[in-house]
Symmetry: C3
Subunit: 287 residues, 3 copies
């Protein structure tokens, strides 16, 4: 077993930062994989919100580079839900700017509850996968698999142990999947789920620019939320939105997002994740 040429251990959890949970996971990784760069993606996924965690991991995955992701949003910790490690089907380029060094593998470790597959899809799909063994009988409290199962497994992978040594083969087609975000496209109208409201109040929709083109929407649209309509204009930057107006941007994840300029669009619209927004061309629904 030799150290990998490159790669980090990436962490995404709902452990928060008020407690030492995330810190202990970082320490267990570092103890078992000395020298591994440990990269916190976020630990502030809302408690138990597997869907929000899956979306955040999916947004981050294409940018991570090689290494091992530990993702833990796991209300079923200690139950018979499987613990898994899944390798991305394709090696990931190491250095982007300028290109260089060998590509490396990207692995995902976590509970089999829907948290991982969207992110794995986002990097090209799953290669080999294994089921990690559960905790040994009599090992005591079964409430912190991040510390006791996932972080040690990630450390072994980072050190270069073969994936197959970590558990029994698993068909990645059997991984649990969440219901996809709602999206309906028809002539002149999009219906899209709010996937994410970020810190700045930007409202990411399940729709992409191609969906807006298929719907035939123009640069001016009418957004309807819970019966209330708002005009929005397609813009390239937050700063291009007029004060008190709404903008529709293609965001950094390639999604359509409703945004304001130095204000929260989510507050203006009164929406949150899971709400459905209707976007129409101005010709059929101008207020």
């Amino acid at each position: 077993v030799t150290r990998r040429a490159a790669g980090s251990v990436f962490l995404l959890t709902d452990y928060g930062s008020a407690d030492e949970f995330a810190g202990v996971v970082r320490a267990v990784v570092q103890r078992n994989a000395p020298g591994a760069p440990v990269v916190d993606i976020t630990h502030e996924v809302a408690p138990f919100d597997v869907r929000a965690g899956a979306l955040a991991l999916c947004r981050a995955a294409p940018h991570l580079g090689p290494g091992v992701v530990v993702a833990v949003v796991d209300p079923g910790v200690g139950t018979s839900r499987r613990a898994v490690a899944v390798r991305a089907a394709f090696p990931v380029p190491t250095r982007l700017v300028p290109p260089g060094t060998e590509p490396g593998t990207l692995d995902f470790v976590g509970p089999d509850n829907g948290l991982l597959p969207w992110a794995i899809d986002a990097v090209g799909g799953a290669g080999p996968a294994v089921r990690l063994p559960g905790r040994p009988a009599g090992a005591g409290g079964a409430t912190f698999d991040g510390r006791d199962i996932f972080a040690p497994a990630a450390a072994r992978l980072w050190r270069g142990e073969p994936l197959a040594d970590l558990g029994d083969d698993l068909d990645p087609g059997t991984l649990e999947r969440l219901a996809p975000p709602r999206l309906a496209v028809a002539p002149g109208v999009l219906e899209a789920e709010v996937q994410w409201v970020d810190r700045f109040g930007n409202v990411q929709l399940a729709a992409r620019p191609a969906d807006a083109r298929h719907a035939g929407l123009g640069a001016e649209v009418v957004v309807t939320v819970a019966g209330v309509t708002h005009r929005a204009r397609t813009v390239d930057t937050f700063a291009a939105v007029e004060p008190a107006a709404l903008g529709l941007v293609t965001d950094a994840n390639g999604h359509l997002s409703l945004v304001c300029n130095r204000r929260s669009a989510a507050t203006v619209l009164g929406v949150g994740p899971g709400d459905v927004v209707t976007v129409r061309g101005t010709q059929d629904g101008a207020p």
Copy 2:
């Protein structure tokens, strides 16, 4: 002076993350110990809450591995309270999964105000210890010893400087200690302090499973808080708790914890750290 074979610099403070305090401490460690893995345990200990910090550090300590802990919850910064560095009595195994590499030392650096001893106990007790010199006269603002005294000392230890070079010998038996958490065990009844309410609302008690056995408690118990009683059932996992019910688990630190399934037990019980909870067998106190 040579670099240690392995080990991290671990940080636990009440500095929060809104300000740059923790970041400056990280930078000072990295500047003086280039290449040291810096592991944040947490920076969100409640301001000035030495007891909460001591408990969090004690929970984390057995999992850290070799290195140097910098712990700062220090309302007496700049006063005559001592600044100390204490080496754990026993070297700590480096790699757990699978076992490997040489064990290494684990040192604790911080104020002598009760923050450190419980964690040192948790890894087998104290070995040699020194008092760190205070800041030089005329060195200016005496309000940030984490930056000016503790982080530089930790960097020197991480680099392999002998502990004795950092200050004058100190008898670790003279370190300040906090009052232990309240715990009383009698036939049929436990009285235990709430040590910790975590992000998920789990209520960690000062009691352990052995205390429940000594009290002769069974799988069903009655919990009394401020005159109000609640039934709870012993479970292995959060998911095994019925909706709207309370569970009693052995948690990941080997303590008894009152928990709910995807809800806050602390909210249900109306308790916080420092409150005392009574746990009885159902035969003598069923509501």
Copy 3:
């Protein structure tokens, strides 16, 4: 292009920790500069608050050591505001305790909106600087320059690429600057802006001890905020402030700060950043 002898990549943003923004920036740095120590200064600058970010970076800068700072508080992302990289005029000592190793360069990467110059001043001023190219046409969402422009540029600098290779030369005298914090000194009186209220409620003023000496203030002062006066006494430590009293300390950044003992002075005074406080000697204004 060879790896630098030493140095970290330092991050300061208003990205918060609830979303994965900061995590993705960390990953992009690590991907493009494998092995670089990544040091979070803070990600909790208030959204869009360039001034607060500039002040935090200025306080941190003298302690960072060599490396590359990525600073992003950037309401103008995607507009024609320049993206820049600026080298500090003087190399920075690597190890402080005890002194050792070669000094290294310190670079600042971020938007040209006033965020960087105070920090650059704090380490001795600017050396060479370049304007970074914008995103390629058709590169999609222009809302996350931290990920797409600043982090990759910082990785290249950390790896040792010449600054001049990253963009066209720029006169650092043309960098945008914010209005300096308000400070007026007259015999017997200081008027100073509140620059910062930290997590503990300490109130950092734009004034320094030399300003108090020039004003001829003694150890007892009268502080006026919005017409209400408070007495304060000069102290060396928080613990030296009497319960229910106010203290005036020289803080860890060499500024005068109004403080309490285990309480928030900001709450006592009812002040926040940007407010102006008047400090007088007791002889002319005792309440």
